[in-house]
């Protein structure tokens, strides 16, 4: 359950954000501190825990041998799944996934897949018959807003740390003897997600839970940097209110700046 946002709080937040201020003292475009911890799960081929303020997400990478999809016999498979555990927030209940729970893994999937960071064509054991399936599992441990950005950070961190399992003589994955070889990744590609939220006339990033609840509309961007150019691979707008053209132009500049900021914070640990 958890009590929804009241009109009073939303109005106060709107006034505050339009002045460029926030409840926790940050500016509209400030991210909270990010930290990454590796090897949080020994059963996964790669795993990472990302803390963004009080938001905490664990991502795990698991590799299995499967048949390829009929439309891509010479490529490995990628699957992203995520659950919003009741542990993470009083908002989440057990039961069939609702809108947020469907949206989260899809957004993560799209930012990872469309950036082509995983070289899926190198994950083929035997074309048309046996390929590696990369499964990324997202577990939000605590939801204090901005789960998607944190989840993409966790996913890319886990991917870069993952080690390929060996293959037994019978042709099954040998999880006990992992090779030292990592996943075939395009090393220069770091996909990150930046979500722009809007309330009133104010644009802001990295909301806490109350800010995320008060926001009228949000737009998620999955992007990478190629040389000095940013490349947006995926976008998704959620919410009924529109963005003006000017706001989108501001956002276009802002996501680049925020990408650099996130990248700088993560580059030491990735």
């Amino acid at each position: 359950m958890g009590m929804g946002i009241s009109k009073n709080t939303q109005e106060a937040m709107k006034t505050l954000l339009e002045q460029g201020k926030r409840f926790d003292g940050r500016k509209c475009v400030d991210y909270r501190d990010i930290s990454v911890t590796y090897n949080v799960s020994n059963a996964a081929e790669g795993s990472a825990r990302v803390m963004m303020g009080k938001t905490e997400v664990i991502a795990g990478v698991k590799l299995t041998l499967d048949k390829p999809y009929p439309d891509s016999p010479d490529k490995g498979n990628l699957m992203v799944s995520g659950d919003l555990l009741p542990l993470a927030s009083p908002r989440y209940e057990v039961g069939p996934p609702k809108f947020d729970a469907i949206e989260l893994p899809r957004l993560v999937d799209r930012s990872i897949r469309e950036s082509h960071v995983i070289e899926l064509d190198k994950l083929v054991v035997k074309a048309g018959e046996k390929v590696w399936t990369v499964i990324i599992d997202i577990y939000p441990i605590n939801d204090d807003g901005n789960l998607v950005d944190a989840a993409v950070c966790a996913a890319i961190a886990a991917l870069r740390q993952a080690k390929m399992p060996g293959i037994t003589e019978a042709g099954f994955p040998d999880y006990k003897n992992r090779t030292k070889q990592g996943l075939p990744l395009a090393k220069e590609v770091i996909p990150l997600s930046v979500t722009i939220f809007k309330l009133g006339n104010a644009l802001f990033v990295d909301p806490t839970r109350e800010e995320a609840e008060a926001a009228e509309v949000k737009c998620n961007f999955g992007l990478t940097k190629q040389g000095k150019k940013y490349m947006v691979h995926s976008t998704q707008k959620t919410g009924a209110k529109p963005f003006t053209q000017k706001e989108l132009e501001t956002s276009a500049v802002l996501i680049g700046e925020k990408y650099d900021e996130l990248y700088d914070k993560l580059k030491k640990v990735l």
């Binding site: 359950m1 958890g2 009590m3 929804g4 946002i5 009241s6 009109k7 009073n8 709080t9 939303q10 109005e11 106060a12 937040m13 006034t15 505050l16 002045q19 201020k21 409840f23 009083p90 109350e210």
Partner: protein, 234 residues
């Protein structure tokens, strides 16, 4: 393990020290004691059912919980949000498993049943008292001073177990905050705090003060410390 009794000089009654217990920990042993809030009987032992401070009042053993969800009781003052309007009242979300209900009769003036949102619309905040808890739900009322619709300001959530600290002994802490920030403050025992002032910075300061108080559950002499903090940040 019995509660250690320490006597305070000058007082007739021996004071009982409160101490931290975790669920499953035996507080006292013996048929003479009675289990109260947050405890249960296991054989001859009285065992803590919650994490908190164990306290002995006569024969009665209770645990003042330090964490966990708000559990409503009759007479509690709560802050809620209007989540629905029905034919004869308002459904109020009070941040618990079941909703509260405010009957139309609680309105301070006559209300046309077709225009109930003129008084309370969906998303409005109220501070109300729990009049009774039945199988149907929780009945709320405006029967008391300071209760009613909350206009302006904003609300935020703290741990419901810490609200007594925000109020302080005989309201000392809440008055300190009100005086130093010139804010109107309403405390709901469900952990929601509402602050209001014309000045946004005052409200932010009041919020910061409340959050500081709720983050330090074990500190003694907190009122003096907060007084000092207000002096420093003036």
């Amino acid at each position: 393990m019995a509660i250690k009794k320490i006597s305070v000089a000058g007082s007739e009654e021996p004071h009982k020290k409160r101490y931290v217990v975790v669920p499953g920990e035996t507080i006292v042993s013996g048929e003479d004691y009675l289990p109260s809030d947050g405890t249960r009987r296991q054989g001859v032992d009285i065992v803590a059912a919650r994490y908190g401070l164990a306290e002995e009042a006569g024969m009665v053993i209770r645990v003042i919980s330090l964490t966990g969800a708000f559990v409503p009781r009759r007479g509690n003052q709560v802050i809620g949000r209007v989540s629905n309007i029905t034919l004869n009242g308002w459904v109020i979300d009070i941040d618990w498993a079941s909703n509260g209900f405010l009957p139309i009769d609680e309105s301070p003036h006559f209300i046309n049943k077709n225009e109930m949102d003129q008084f309370l619309a969906i998303g409005d905040m109220i501070v109300a008292k729990i009049m009774g808890i039945t199988a149907r739900g929780i009945d709320l009322g405006f029967d008391g001073p300071g209760l009613g619709k909350l206009e302006g300001g904003f609300a935020f959530k703290v741990s419901s177990n810490r609200t007594p600290r925000v109020i302080g002994r005989e309201g000392s802490m809440i008055n300190l905050i009100k005086e130093n920030t010139k804010c109107d403050v309403a405390v709901g025992q469900n952990g929601w705090i509402w602050v209001y002032s014309e000045n946004m910075d005052d409200m932010l300061k009041a919020r910061k003060a409340v959050e500081m108080i709720t983050e330090k559950p074990f500190v003694e002499g907190l009122t003096e410390k907060m007084e000092q903090w207000f002096q420093e940040t003036k």
